[in-house]
Symmetry: C2
Subunit: 356 residues, 2 copies
Amino acid sequence: MNSELSSQQVQEIGEQGLLERLQRFCPPEIIGDDAAVLVTAPEQSLVVTADMLIDGVHFSDVTTSPEDAGWRAAAANLSDLAAMGASPLGITVGLGLPGEVRVSWVEQLYQGMTECLQKYNTSIVGGDVVRSPVTTLAITAFGQVNPSQIIRRSAAVVGNAIVVTGVHGASRAGLELLLHPELGQNLKDTERTALILAHQRPHPRLDVLPILWKILESQSQIQVALEAHQRCDLKSKIPIAGMDSSDGLADAIIQICRASGVGAVLERRQISMPTAFDNWLTQEQALAYALYGGEDFELVLCLPQESALALVKHLSQGAAIVGNITSGSTVLLHDEQKKLPDQVLSLSQGFQHFGQ
Amino acid sequence: MNSELSSQQVQEIGEQGLLERLQRFCPPEIIGDDAAVLVTAPEQSLVVTADMLIDGVHFSDVTTSPEDAGWRAAAANLSDLAAMGASPLGITVGLGLPGEVRVSWVEQLYQGMTECLQKYNTSIVGGDVVRSPVTTLAITAFGQVNPSQIIRRSAAVVGNAIVVTGVHGASRAGLELLLHPELGQNLKDTERTALILAHQRPHPRLDVLPILWKILESQSQIQVALEAHQRCDLKSKIPIAGMDSSDGLADAIIQICRASGVGAVLERRQISMPTAFDNWLTQEQALAYALYGGEDFELVLCLPQESALALVKHLSQGAAIVGNITSGSTVLLHDEQKKLPDQVLSLSQGFQHFGQ
């Protein structure tokens, strides 16, 4: 990076000048035409998701460096692809900028985005840079998925186990530590750093997908073999329901239940959280962060019990079966030790917890 | 449309409320998951293009109704797909809105977008609505193209004819009439209306593509037959160079020449313009509008002479061969009647013409 040039403001080099500076963040073969051309695998469906982020509303220099804002924006969109079972093909980036923004700020934003994208073998394949009174980031991500492996919110069935692919609450806790550094005095330095990193550099769980397909494939073969023996339909498949927990674990489970026309029982003590919470938060605070904090970008999947058990076994610490899909329409928080009464979860509780 | 609800401001119904109101502009099957799933045809490449539009910079209620702003935004993105030879699969729409914007304004914007998209058998397949201090529209368009039919800026070769698919200058003239209604007193009402419509409701030239493929296919067959007779390579193909004229005809030709490492001679009197210009503008004004006005969204294609002739013959009035690709790197404006000296075209002239 040329630091002399980077200390300039965007208005000094103009939109065309900035576009030229940003081309190094894109694969060279996609530059120079009206649109980018991408090769897709045969017999895959295209998956598309779009996000818009506004300075002061969705990101802020107070808690987030431009690199982290870029990483988080890319991660959120890749997580939406993972939530559908799709592998990323690329993203487009629309950027609106006031003239006085530093070129270095924009380059750091792109640096953060490309660092996240490279980790998942994908890249920025197109975009637009324009003048705007407020810094605005519009990302569209596209991926591909085998049509038989699409994960849908509406596919949960009674009896499914609800799997989380990792701990919840870490991102919200990290944000709290950034906003109020005086909090969590009993936390070890490594714990504090890990929670803050969970907020600044979340990981979309694209890594879960190949593990999931492998488990479902082997279980599907067993099922087919059994059914063949019983002269049943040979074509039955294990349906996959789920979404990501970007808006919180409670939100994910409630959305899945609504879309599938089912209910759920969530086991209070099975919800996995960072062990650091024990040194800082009350049980109720910890649970509020885990259920309503959001931005952990884990997957919440509803699967037959044996598939769920196999998946949790193959994922790293934090993955857990947190409950079951039930008939009806309520989502209950249950205490298996029966010390606390059942509690009906609703989305409005999240707003109450954080005073929004 | 429920007019009582539509007179409300966005902040009264919230982002979730607005999203629900906008769902009627999307196909029902794509709603309710983290991302939309689209089926692509086998052996097609994916084409992606992104655009960002800011209130006061790229559109304005002074010259553009919300319906027209929506139509124009959709048309510009479809034109980028047409410029690559691609058929549309859908668009995503990111929308940033101040709280005081009327719900009816947003609905009219979406109405305009969907009217344009429906004309080309495509639709809004996803998006995001967020609060922002300035109205911001971020569109990403997706299309598919047979890899052998990708149109690239870099494929022009010496000897190619330069084809425009219609008249140039109409959109800029229409904008001028909207900004200064006192101009063009000699124009007939129908002429005035047609010029204004060219600005408000431009047509991306997706209709040209099937005609172009048919001509190239038949000419390719003749070529292959001839070459087979001469025992030459059977696989030779006619390359297709081009782009759209969204930033002006001069810009399109200069960009193609730069990307292809060639020059061009443009015949001053072959550049097709609206006949209404004769009743209003001087020849030099008319030429400035045609070369530098922009937003006509025609295609500018470089093809072998016989293909170019066949294409112009099959397109409606306004399509023309406007010049030829030459060796060297300059783009010359030439007067075949030799009344005016040759003039070298450059992009900076466009800015001079419009005092930018």
